[in-house]
């Protein structure tokens, strides 16, 4: 990470300052902005797609759109929130086409391998939970991935998804309830 990107992350350089430099056509400033935010954007895209190629493609799309529309960024929210909103929309717009294609070409189960860290959780249980998350509808899956997996706050998710904070909390609660219901047959194992 470059010095300016570190400075941006540690608030030594203000966002409006770097944005105005990007708008003036400063490629180095654009790269700094990318360095400061690309990791989180990519993580979010990867978690939402489960596919490295798609995550790379969507991260690039996000930044291309962000740079071309930066003049319209009004600063009502943090730049990161604005970028993540574009990411979520880019992913949502593209994934249905991808999903349709995959349904024809391959089994979805082959697409997202589960990593096998030794954290003491039964691999079968882990696999079942992953499939249950995959099976959630888009709004619930996005909410639970952002909150429970990626650690966004309800306030951040609400801003990114353009919903009220209460709606976000309600969706998370619904998502968890659906996961519990899906895993209900494993109740004895879960209690042990």
């Amino acid at each position: 990470m470059t010095r300016l990107a570190i400075a941006l992350k540690t608030n030594q350089v203000s966002e409006p300052e770097i944005i105005s430099r990007v708008l003036a056509g400063d490629r180095i400033a654009a790269r700094e902005l990318y360095d400061a935010h690309s990791s989180r954007v990519y993580r979010l895209a990867f978690r939402l797609t489960g596919d490295a190629d798609l995550a790379r493609e969507f991260t690039q799309d996000t930044f291309v759109r962000a740079f071309s529309q930066l003049a319209r960024f009004r600063g009502d929210s943090a730049l990161s929130t604005w970028l993540h909103r574009i990411t979520v929309t880019v992913v949502a717009n593209a994934m249905r086409k991808v999903k349709r294609f995959r349904e024809r070409e391959t089994d979805l189960e082959d697409v997202h391998p589960i990593s096998s860290d030794n954290t003491g959780v039964d691999p079968v249980l882990r696999e079942r939970l992953a499939r249950a998350i995959d099976g959630l509808s888009e709004i619930y899956r996005t909410t639970i991935i952002m909150h429970d997996i990626e650690g966004y706050t309800h306030t951040e998710i609400a801003e990114v998804l353009g919903v009220a904070e209460g709606t976000c909390k309600s969706r998370l609660s619904q998502a968890r309830a659906q996961l519990r219901a899906t895993l209900a047959d494993l109740a004895p194992e879960l209690e042990s």
């Binding site: 654009a30 690039q60 949502a92 249905r96 990593s115 959780v121 919903v163 209690e191």
Partner: protein, 223 residues
């Protein structure tokens, strides 16, 4: 399931579920730089973007005109069929094709009551989506406009669960309209920014929604 056990599972999922693989950020940047700042990447994103923009512009204009024609045709045909006596409205079936027609007759009968509703819904959705850019630019994407989108979104979901969605092409169209209308509904929360509008327009173009909407309207009209 106990709450703490579930929380433990979710903590584990944060470490293992779709665990990101570190990409080559420099290579990604080169693609972004080439597309945004106009680098020389042969056959890359930049070229495709320009061609896509030019094509979509004309497709959009053509689609708008054709939807108008299609909606007009539906209104006319519905008006005509309402005036015709029942016997005259039944199409002639040749002896050779009578058996085939009988097989498909039951399926089409199940979807028939939905045709009129579907046709009305597609027409209203087309009207809303075509007028969307101007409404937003003029600052008229107000509560009433969003409320129309909410109604259409509800209808979309009802139609998705109905026999009208049995046809795969129609189902795909409903699913895409559901996504686009959900984005229109979100305009209210995001105060109708140009960025949001651009993303909706792009979704419409990427999925060829307006041309498919026009085709669906024409198909229902023909049937």
């Amino acid at each position: 399931m106990k709450e703490d056990r579930f929380d433990e599972l979710m903590r584990d999922a944060a470490e293992t579920y779709r665990k990101p693989v570190a990409p080559d950020f420099d290579a990604m940047w080169k693609g972004i730089e080439a597309e945004h700042f106009g680098g020389r990447v042969t056959g890359g994103r930049e070229e495709r973007g320009v061609v896509r923009w030019a094509t979509n512009r004309w497709v959009g204009i053509a689609a708008t005109l054709l939807i108008g024609i299609g909606v007009g045709r539906v209104s006319t045909s519905l008006e005509k069929s309402a005036k015709l006596p029942v016997a005259a409205a039944v199409p002639e079936i040749s002896t050779a094709s009578a058996n085939t027609a009988a097989v498909t007759h039951d399926e089409s009968l199940a979807a028939q009551p939905y045709d009129r509703e579907t046709s009305k819904y597609l027409g209203q959705t087309a009207a809303l989506l075509v007028s969307l850019p101007n409404e937003v630019k003029a600052g008229r994407a107000d509560a009433q406009f969003v409320s129309r989108a909410v109604d259409l979104l509800t209808t979309t979901r009802l139609l998705l669960d109905s026999p009208a969605a049995k046809d795969p092409a129609m189902r795909n169209l409903f699913e895409d309209l559901e996504l686009v209308l959900a984005q229109v509904v979100r305009l209210q929360n995001n105060r109708g920014t140009r960025t949001e509008l651009d993303l909706i327009t792009e979704a419409l173009q990427q999925r060829d929604v307006l041309p498919r909407l026009r085709t669906a309207v024409a198909d229902i009209s023909a049937n």
